[in-house]
């Protein structure tokens, strides 16, 4: 049993779970949170994660955490993954733990690793400017045997080390490259468009083995998803499990949770998108916890502890073959207009039996909406719950386009 968990980042639901389980922990985060932590009796060490210097580094942080007897570090934010890797390297006396963490923080390196290990990935390349992206698109067009007048091949560019959809751009043509790419995007990863049904997995790993696998069906990337996976995807579960274990072995993941994104093609093949090892966005663990009836956040933290016993593991995780009957899904709501005045919950939603709850907030006054960066900030989430995954898909697609803000 870990003596103390260091939670790197900031998440009130995670802290609440730790308190409820009565597990020892200390939160490491930016100084902004210090006052709130003091007011709420949260053990806290303030740290500037975005500084890397003689006085701000993992050895220094290691020292600062000594009084708390920390022996396990858990990354909550994308930006704390390598910090947690560095600390855990020290705690486990294994330098490769840090190297593995870097895998998660450089998408080009991540793809190469996957390619070496025999996972199917698209064509990818590191690019340094717009010209680089254009060259990449040209080569892709050539490989796809483009004939004069045909559309260009789609290219995605992503920053090497950002969470989820931040900075992700889809470029459908040469002119898109000129219009959508900005100086600040580079260097970054360019990759070919992967077709297929997108989903993510949340694999809770302990001792190098997947102990529980959640599959999240994406209805629309950046907007909506639901748990557990729908009936079709469910028939592929065994195949997915195999590929997932391959990924865990390949990346050498011993403890914690990984959250990769996959594409299932029409030929029943799995393409690897990317993988993260922090708390996934889109309230996935919240939905997962509700669907499988367990504390997914607590499980996420505890799986990082090498000393966790088999008994404890079984207690905290659902059985590996569990198949809930009730599906939980959500759709993130973005205003569709440039000026919004008020929040209006549509009548049809109030009468929808699958509707569960929402946390949409009315605008304070007439509000101007800034252009979306990547997917931008959503204004809240509408949750659904029901026993029919097809109806769920229908609802999530529908409400993505409903105007809640007018």
């Amino acid at each position: 049993m870990a003596k103390c968990f260091a939670l790197l980042g900031w998440s009130l639901p995670v802290i609440e779970s730790m308190q409820k389980m009565d597990k020892p922990y200390v939160v490491v985060s930016f100084p902004d949170f210090e006052q709130y932590a003091a007011e709420n009796n949260i053990p806290f060490v303030s740290y500037q994660f975005d500084e890397w210097s003689d006085t701000s580094n993992s050895l220094d942080l290691h020292e600062k955490l000594k009084p708390y007897n920390v022996d396990v570090a858990v990354p909550l934010f994308e930006e704390t993954v390598e910090w947690a890797g560095a600390l855990n390297s020290i705690y486990r006396d294994d330098p490769r733990v840090l190297n593995r963490a870097f895998l998660f923080r450089n998408k080009a390196m991540m793809k190469r690793k996957a390619l070496i290990g025999g996972l199917r990935v698209g064509l990818f390349e590191e690019v340094y400017n717009k010209e680089g992206v254009k060259e990449f698109m040209k080569r892709l067009n050539a490989a796809n045997l483009q004939v004069e007048g045909e559309e260009d091949s789609w290219v995605h560019i992503k920053p090497f080390a950002s969470a989820g959809t931040v900075g992700h751009r889809l470029l459908r043509s040469m002119s898109d490259i000129d219009e959508k790419c900005e100086e600040g995007d580079f260097p970054c990863l360019a990759e070919s468009h992967l077709p297929g049904q997108e989903f993510s997995c949340e694999a809770f790993v302990h001792g190098g083995k997947i102990r529980f696998l959640n599959i999240t069906e994406y209805v629309k990337l950046g907007y909506s998803n639901f748990i557990p996976e729908g009936n079709y995807l469910h028939t592929k579960r065994e195949k997915i499990m195999k590929e997932m274990q391959k990924l865990v072995d390949l990346f050498g993941i011993q403890y914690g949770m990984i959250h990769p994104e996959w594409f299932l093609t029409e030929n029943d093949e799995l393409n690897f998108g990317e993988v993260a090892c922090r708390i996934p966005g889109g309230h996935i663990l919240e939905l997962c916890g509700k669907a499988y009836d367990f504390d997914a956040l607590a499980a996420f933290v505890l799986c990082h502890d090498p000393d966790l016993t088999e008994e404890e593991l079984n207690k905290i995780l659902p059985p590996i073959d569990a198949r809930p009957k009730t599906f939980y899904g959500n759709v993130m709501i973005y205003p569709h207009k440039n000026r919004i005045e008020k929040l209006e919950i549509p009548e049809e939603l109030k009468e929808e039996p699958f509707f569960l709850d929402h946390n949409l907030v009315p605008p304070l006054t007439t509000q101007k909406i800034n252009d979306r960066d990547g997917f931008g900030n959503h204004f809240g989430t509408v949750n659904f719950k029901g026993d029919d995954p097809d109806r769920m898909t229908e609802l999530l697609l529908h409400y993505e386009n409903v105007d809640f803000y007018v």
Partner: protein
């Protein structure tokens, strides 16, 4: 899941979210509270929803939903703040609603929180009711209508329907009687609100004729339920039989008593319908004017048109359509029936077949529809009321002040045109207008300002307004982009040729600012102030655009009223007398500007304000550009500055002001 009703599902959602909230630590409580409050907001717009929320109030209170908020301690709440909070929208309105339900739970003994006694809670609730009668009867003021969404209105109205059902109203009596007096003083065409209050009082309160404050409420009750000694305690059909037993002299006395009841508050009882029909059918021609309470002018009109009016009465009046009797009486007195065109158009309408769509609208506007009364009878009855009480026209809970203002204006100055319009729409469910040489047909235009008409209107308004609104909107569209307020062209086209040619707007479209407000105000005074316009009176109502401001004086939006006259009141102060088509003339526009409807020389239906206060809210009006009197420069600058200060410190804060002089 399909067997569950949506109410069951709502309840289980509420339960689940309450449980999540209850189990959360202080860290995630705000987040869970947000979801919980959102669910309460969704449920609160129905009776069952409110009942369900009420049953959870003790658990919600215990779980700490009020903790850390200004609502935490019920003994520290201020009743006068509730109205503003309820108007401010979710989430504030939702917690206010919960707070009211908590007080009710304390009154009913369902909750004991130790901070406030049931008696205190009851007093508090009564004060809230008094301050929120607009929600109790769902008659929102203009300010409220602009601020609140439909969902919020329904929600708050549901709350008060629930409260009113369960709370002792003993201490609200005086306020209710004042409310009734002031509404009736305005003689509105739609009498639903007064009737609702009177019915509520009858149902909820035991009145004691020996108490002075009760006596007044009893007088209102009598008007509707037992207007005469002869009608007391008699069912309607029995009263019909009873009339047959009366001698002519007894009928005369009965008619006298009946009409004096009607004239007291402008409310007509069903008994009066029976009596009037009895008199007309049995040709008691001398008693009819007594029953209608006519003055000598009205009586003369009756005598001139006995056959015509008798037919109108026989065709239209019915105990379930009786309020039109008051309108008919006023119609006889104001002389509209003297016009040949009016009589002809009324005869035309009386034999018209009504379009199905229009019938539907009329049905919807009739709360207690009787199968014995046809849509045409309702429409005719409503027309009597509008022709008799042009200043009683209201817009209901609709953004259609323009149309209401038009109906009122035509009723007085072009009644035959109005009746002809009603007939055209009633038959074709369509209407067409001329705009700058081109035809605008309502059926060929896009939507107007109204999306969901509030049917709490008279039958003439539900017939005309949806179409007038479309025509108005289309005219506004065609006149847009001309660098000036489109009303400059739309008002004369919509209302008719008596709208003056000159047009002044404080807002300058080209510079997007309020330009030369001093000059604007001078023109306004020169248009209407007798001392600066050559002691002239206004001939026709002047359609005026005003800024609506909140009770704090903040800019809220625009509204249309008609300036009817400017005259000195008993205190020798010049006042503007105007028609506010909002159902309720009494408003609070901030800075102490509160239009009055009674006691300052108002004719029933007029609102009034001291002239400078009215001027401080005006943004556009028409004037006679040929007779701009040179006396304008005699208007003391102090008066202009007084107006300007009020304007600048209220709605004016939402605008840029330029002092450059303008050629008006």
């Amino acid at each position: 899941m399909s067997e569950q009703t949506i109410d069951d599902i709502n309840q289980s959602r509420l339960k689940e979210l309450l449980n999540d909230f209850f189990e959360a630590t202080s860290l995630t409580k705000p987040d869970k509270a947000n979801k919980l409050m959102n669910q309460i907001d969704i449920m609160a717009d129905s009776k069952l929803g409110i009942e369900c929320i009420y049953s959870y109030v003790p658990s919600l209170t215990e779980a700490g939903i009020f903790d850390g908020s200004p609502w935490a301690d019920p003994s520290k709440l201020v009743p006068n703040l509730a109205n503003g909070t309820l108007k401010s929208g979710h989430p504030n309105s939702t917690i206010e609603l919960l707070s009211e339900l908590r007080l009710m739970a304390i009154v009913n003994g369902d909750l004991d929180n130790g901070q406030i006694e049931p008696d205190e809670a009851s007093n508090y609730l009564q004060e809230i009711i008094v301050a929120n009668l607009e929600f109790v009867f769902n008659e929102p003021q203009e300010e409220t209508r602009l601020m609140m969404s439909d969902h919020e209105l329904v929600k708050v109205h549901s709350l008060f329907k629930f409260i009113i059902d369960k709370v002792d109203l003993e201490q609200v009596k005086e306020k209710l009687s004042e409310e009734l007096t002031l509404i009736c003083a305005q003689r509105p065409v739609v009498t639903e609100k007064q009737r609702n209050i009177i019915a509520l009082v009858k149902e909820k309160l035991d009145l004691d004729a020996y108490k002075p404050e009760d006596r007044k409420l009893l007088r209102f009750q009598k008007c509707i339920y037992s207007p005469t000694e002869g009608s007391a305690d008699k069912p309607l059909d029995e009263y019909g039989h009873y009339l047959k037993t009366l001698t002519k002299a007894e009928l005369y006395a009965e008619a006298q008593e009946m009409s004096s009841r009607m004239l007291e508050f402008g409310l007509v009882s069903q008994y009066q319908g029976i009596l009037l029909l009895h008199l007309v059918r049995n040709e008691f021609h001398q008693i009819v004017p007594i029953c209608l309470g006519l003055n000598p002018v009205g009586e003369a009109k009756w005598n001139e048109n006995i056959a015509f009016v008798s037919d109108l009465i026989k065709d239209t009046v019915h105990p379930y359509n009786c309020q039109c009797i008051y309108g008919l009486a006023k119609m006889l007195e104001n002389g509209v029936l003297g016009r040949e065109a009016v009589r002809s158009s009324l005869s035309n309408l009386a034999t018209s077949r009504i379009h199905l769509k229009v019938e539907e609208r009329i049905d919807k506007s009739t709360r207690k529809k009787s199968k014995d009364v046809s849509s045409r009878q309702y429409l005719m009855g409503s027309l009597f009321r509008i022709l008799g009480q042009p200043l009683g026209v209201g817009q209901g809970n609709n953004p259609t002040c323009q149309s209401a203002r038009g109906i009122s204006m035509w009723s007085k100055h072009s009644p035959a045109k109005l009746i002809n319009m009603v007939q055209t729409v009633a038959v074709h469910d369509d209407i067409s207008f001329r705009f700058e040489g081109q035809e605008i047909k309502a059926s060929e235009t896009i939507e107007g300002l109204v999306h969901n008409l509030d049917y709490n209107l008279d039958a003439v308004s539900v017939t005309l307004v949806p179409l007038l609104d479309k025509v108005y909107n289309e005219m506004m569209r065609r006149a847009a982009g001309r660098g000036d307020d489109p009303h400059k062209w739309v008002n004369p086209a919509l209302y008719g040729q008596w709208i003056l040619i000159g047009f002044a707007s404080a807002y300058d479209y080209l510079s997007n600012a309020i330009v030369d407000f001093d000059g604007f105000t001078r023109i306004f005074y020169g248009m209407c102030h007798p001392e600066y316009n050559g002691q002239h009176q206004l001939i026709y109502p002047n359609p005026i655009g005003i800024f609506i401001t909140s009770s704090k004086g903040e800019f809220l939006g625009f509204h249309a009223v008609s300036l009817l006259r400017v005259a000195k009141d008993d205190n020798k102060e010049y006042r503007a007398y105007f028609l506010n088509p909002n159902n309720e003339g009494r408003q609070d526009w901030g800075q102490g500007i509160k239009p009055s409807v009674f006691g300052n020389g108002e004719i029933a239906g007029e609102s009034s304000l001291p002239l400078h206060q009215f001027a401080a809210r005006v943004y556009a009006f028409h004037y006679n550009n040929l007779s701009q009197v040179s006396k304008q420069m005699e208007i003391p600058d102090s008066e202009i500055q007084k107006v300007k200060k009020l304007a600048k410190e209220s709605w004016g804060q939402a605008y840029t002001w330029l002092e450059t002089k303008k050629q008006w």
